[in-house]
Symmetry: C2
Subunit: 472 residues, 2 copies
C-alpha cells in the first residue's frame, strides 16, 4: 500500500503545498516519497526542467535566427546561444557536479524564489534537473543520428565506403602522428602526454558535421555521404584509438584482445544490424500497416532505434551508432518518407537540447590569458589547431574521384566536439597531461567545433550553387 501511495507523482504534489500552505507539515509525513529532506520534490524538478527547456529553446531560436541573418549555419547559433546561457556567461543553464554542493544556476535561484523549494533540497533538485536535461540532450543526439540515418542512402554509403574508409584512416593517422611528433620534437613534451594530445586530434564529431550538412541540403550529395561514412568509421576508430592509448598508459602495453573485440563487435554490429534489418523490413512494414492505435509508425520505429542504441551502448560502442544504423535500415523501407516527416517534430524537440547543452557546458575560462597555464597553452593550442585542421583537410584530399569537393570533405571532418573532450578527460584523469597541455587540447576542441559550421558553409557554397547552374 505504501508503494502505491508513493506512486503519487510530483505532477499533483503541488496539491500538497497548496493544501498545506508550506512544506513544514510535509516534513512530518514519513510515508510520502517527497518528504525526506534530501529528496527533490518532483513538482519542483518539473518546474526546473520546464524553465531549462524554455532557456534552451530561446537560446537556440535567438542564436539560430541571428546566424541565419548573418548567413551562418543555425547550429552555430545553438552552440553560441548555449555558451551565452551556460556556465561561461549567464549561468542560467548549469550542471550539477558531484562534490560541489554549493554549485547552482540562475534557474535554481528563480525556483527558490518562485516555488516552495527549501534550501536543504536545492542540491538534490539541482542534481535531478541536471540529470534530466543531460539525458534529454543525449536523446537529442540519438534522435539526430537516427534522422541522419533515415536521410542517408545505404547504397550510396556502400558505394563511397572505400573512399570514406581511406578518409577516416588518413584523418586519424595524419593528425595523430603530426601532433604527437610535433609536440615531442618542437615542444619537448614527454611521449605519453604527447600521445594523448595526438589521440585527441583524431576525433570527429559526427553530430555537428551532419547537422550542418543537413542544413545545407548536402546530406545526400556525394560529399555528404563520404563525410557521414568517414565520420561513422572515425567514431569507431576513435573508440579503438582511445582503447590503445589508455591501455598503453595503464599497463605500458596494448591489450590486443580488447582491440580485436572492439573491431569485431563494431563490424558485426553494423553489418549484422543492416542485414537483419533488410531481412525483417517487409514484416515490419506489414505490421505497421496493421496497427490501429496512434502513431504506429513513429513509435515502432523509435522502439527499433532505441533498441539498437541500447545494444550499441551495451557492446561498448556508442548509442549513436545504433541510432544511425536503425535510421539507415528503416530509411530503406517504403515508409521512409512518412517516417521522416513524423521524426522531424520529435527531432525539433530534442536536437536543439543537445547542441545548446554542448555550448552551455563549454567553459571559455580556458581562453582567459590571465591564467599562466592558459598563456602557455595558447601557444601549444595554436600548433594543435593547425595540425587538427591540416590533418583532416589532407584526409579529404585522399578522395580520388573527379569533381569532388575534396576540401569540403576535409573540412567536414574538422569538428572534434564532445568526442575530443573525452580524450582530454581521460588524459587529464590519468595525470599524464600538464595544465597547459590540457588547456591547449580543450582550446583546440572548442575552436575546431565552433569554426567548422561557418567554414563548411564557405567551402560548400560553390557546390551548392553548381547544380543550379547545371540545371539552368
Amino acid at each position: 500500500m505504501t508503494n502505491f501511495l508513493t506512486g503519487v507523482s510530483g505532477l499533483t504534489s503541488n496539491l500538497y503545498s497548496a493544501a498545506l500552505g508550506g512544506s513544514k507539515f510535509l516534513m512530518d509525513m514519513p510515508i510520502l516519497a517527497t518528504t525526506t529532506e534530501v529528496e527533490a520534490d518532483e513538482a519542483i524538478v518539473v518546474a526546473g526542467v520546464l524553465l531549462s527547456l524554455i532557456v534552451i529553446y530561446l537560446a537556440s531560436k535567438i542564436g539560430g535566427e541571428i546566424c541565419v541573418k548573418i548567413n551562418l549555419p543555425p547550429v552555430l547559433g545553438d552552440l553560441v546561444g548555449g555558451v551565452i546561457v551556460g556556465v561561461s556567461a549567464l549561468k542560467l543553464l548549469a550542471f550539477y557536479e558531484p562534490g560541489d554542493e554549493s554549485a547552482t544556476s540562475l534557474i535554481m535561484n528563480l525556483l527558490e524564489k518562485t516555488t516552495r523549494l527549501e534550501p536543504e533540497a536545492i542540491a538534490a533538485t539541482f542534481q535531478a534537473q541536471s540529470e534530466v536535461i543531460t539525458i534529454f540532450s543525449e536523446l537529442g543526439v540519438i534522435i539526430l543520428l537516427f534522422e541522419i540515418g533515415l536521410e542517408s542512402e545505404l547504397k550510396e554509403l556502400i558505394k563511397y565506403g572505400p573512399q570514406a574508409a581511406i578518409v577516416a584512416v588518413v584523418g586519424v593517422i595524419a593528425p595523430f602522428s603530426a601532433g604527437t611528433l610535433g609536440l615531442v620534437y618542437i615542444f619537448h613534451t614527454p611521449l605519453i602526454p604527447a600521445i594523448f594530445a595526438g589521440a585527441a586530434l583524431t576525433a570527429t564529431s559526427i553530430g555537428i558535421t551532419a547537422k550542418v550538412l543537413a542544413e545545407l541540403g548536402l546530406l545526400s550529395a556525394k560529399e555528404g555521404q563520404i563525410i557521414i561514412g568517414a565520420a561513422v568509421l572515425d567514431d569507431i576508430l576513435g573508440i579503438i584509438v582511445l582503447a590503445v592509448v589508455a591501455s598503453l598508459v595503464k599497463t605500458g602495453e596494448v591489450e590486443v584482445t580488447n582491440i580485436i573485440y572492439l573491431i569485431v563487435s563494431s563490424g558485426v554490429f553494423l553489418v549484422g544490424a543492416i542485414l537483419l534489418g533488410r531481412f525483417l523490413a517487409p514484416y515490419y512494414v506489414n505490421l505497421v500497416k496493421n496497427l490501429k492505435t496512434r502513431g504506429p509508425l513513429l513509435i515502432s520505429a523509435l522502439i527499433i532505434a532505441f533498441f539498437l542504441s541500447y545494444v550499441g551502448a551495451a557492446i561498448q560502442l556508442e548509442a549513436i551508432l545504433g541510432a544511425f544504423t536503425a535510421g539507415l535500415v528503416l530509411g530503406e523501407t517504403e515508409l521512409q518518407k512518412e517516417l521522416e516527416e513524423q521524426v522531424v517534430p520529435v527531432a525539433d524537440f530534442f536536437v536543439p537540447i543537445f547542441f545548446v547543452v554542448v555550448g552551455a557546458r563549454t567553459n571559455l575560462g580556458v581562453l582567459n590569458p590571465s591564467v599562466p597555464s592558459n598563456r602557455e597553452g595558447l601557444i601549444i593550442a595554436t600548433f594543435l589547431i593547425t595540425v587538427a585542421i591540416i590533418g583532416k583537410v589532407v584526409a579529404g584530399f585522399t578522395v580520388l574521384q573527379e569533381q569532388t569537393n575534396r576540401l569540403g570533405i576535409g573540412v567536414g571532418m574538422i569538428p572534434r566536439g564532445e568526442v575530443g573532450l573525452v580524450f582530454a578527460g581521460v588524459g587529464a584523469a590519468s595525470g599524464a597531461l600538464s595544465d597547459s597541455l590540457q588547456a591547449a587540447i580543450i582550446m583546440m576542441v572548442i575552436l575546431t567545433t565552433f569554426i567548422s559550421p561557418p567554414l563548411l558553409r564557405v567551402v560548400f557554397r560553390e557546390v551548392v550553387s553548381e547544380p543550379e547552374k547545371v540545371e539552368g
Copy 2:
C-alpha cells in the same frame, strides 16, 4: 578547466570503458564526474532510459492494439499494459523509493548483466533512471493537456461554462457529502478520516477522460466541451477542497486567506492568460512566420506552453492547467491546424509514457484479500465506489440543455486517477486514515480510473452513431 572536463557527458563516456576495459581504472580518476562510487554513470542511465522507453512503448502498443481488437479504448491498454510491466506484475518498470536502497527492477538487472554497471552504483542509477522517466511522464500529461487545449474551442468552453461550473460544483459536493456522511453513519468512521475519504471522492482525472474523449472524436462535441470545462474547474476545486481539509486537520480551522488566494490566483491566471494571449496572438503569428530556422511554430508554441505550465506550478496551481490554457490560446490563432499536426508526433512520443507509468505505479496488492485490512477495505470500497460513480453521474444530470448525453457527462467525470491518490496520500500521511480506509480509497481510485474508459465508450456509443443517422 575541471568544469569543462566534467562537461564530458555520458554520451561518450562509453568510450572510457571501451578504452579502459573495465571500470576499476575509472575509480582512480577523481577528476571525472562519473567516477565516484555513489554517482550514476550517465551512459548507463541513458541505456536504462532507452530500455524503459522500449518497455513503455511495447506495453502501450500491445495493450492498445488488443484493446482496439476487443473494442475498448486504447488508453485502457496503456493503463493495463503499465500494470503488467509495472510493480504489480513483471516489475520491468519500477520506481526508486527513497530509503529503499535494495529496490530494483528487471531493467536494472538487465543493465547489470549487459553494461559495466557496478553493484554499488545500482541505487544511484536506478534513482536517476526513475527520475528521468517520472519527468518524462509528467511532460507527457503536460503535452497531452496542451494538445487537448489546442483541440478545444474557447468559444464553446465559454458557452458551456455555466453548465460546466454546475457539473463541477455538484460533482464535488454530492460525492463529498454522501461519502463523508455515509462513512460516519453507516461505518461509524470518525469524522476526520471520513472527511478525507469524502474529499478523495471529489477528484476528476482530466487526463484520462480527455484522452478517451479524443479517441472517440468527441472532444469538440457539446458533451466533450462540458466535460473538459468541468474537469478543469474540478481540478481547481480539488486543490481548494484539499486545502480546506488539510488545514482543518492541521489546525482545526480553515485558513481562509489561503483559500481566497487559491480562488483568486486560479481565476486571474486562467482569465489573464487567455486575455493576454488573445491580445498577443497576432504578434506571435507574425513572429513565427518570419522565423527561418527549423521548427519555428512547434518550438515557439512549446516555449509558451512550458512557460504557462511553469507559472501554473509556481502559483501553486497545476502545471497542466497552464499547458491547457496555452493550448486554448494558441488554438484560437490561424496557425492552429498546422501546430496541431506538429504536436501530434511529440504527443505520440510523450503521452503513452504518462499512462503506462500511471499503470506501472499502481500496486494491485491492495486487492489481495489475504491481507486482513484489505478484506475490511473491500466492504468500505464497495460503498465508496458506489458513491464515486453515483455522485458524478448525478452531477451530469444537472445539465439542463435538451438533447445532451447527461449520463455521458457524468461518466466522463468518474475517473479519479492520480488526483485521487494525492488525497489518499495526504490523508495517510496525516495519520488520520486507518489501514482499511486507506486501502478502500486506493481501491476506489483504481476502479474508477480503470472502468471509466470502457464505460465512456458504452454511454457515448449512441451519440457517436446518432449524427451518422442524421446525416444518412
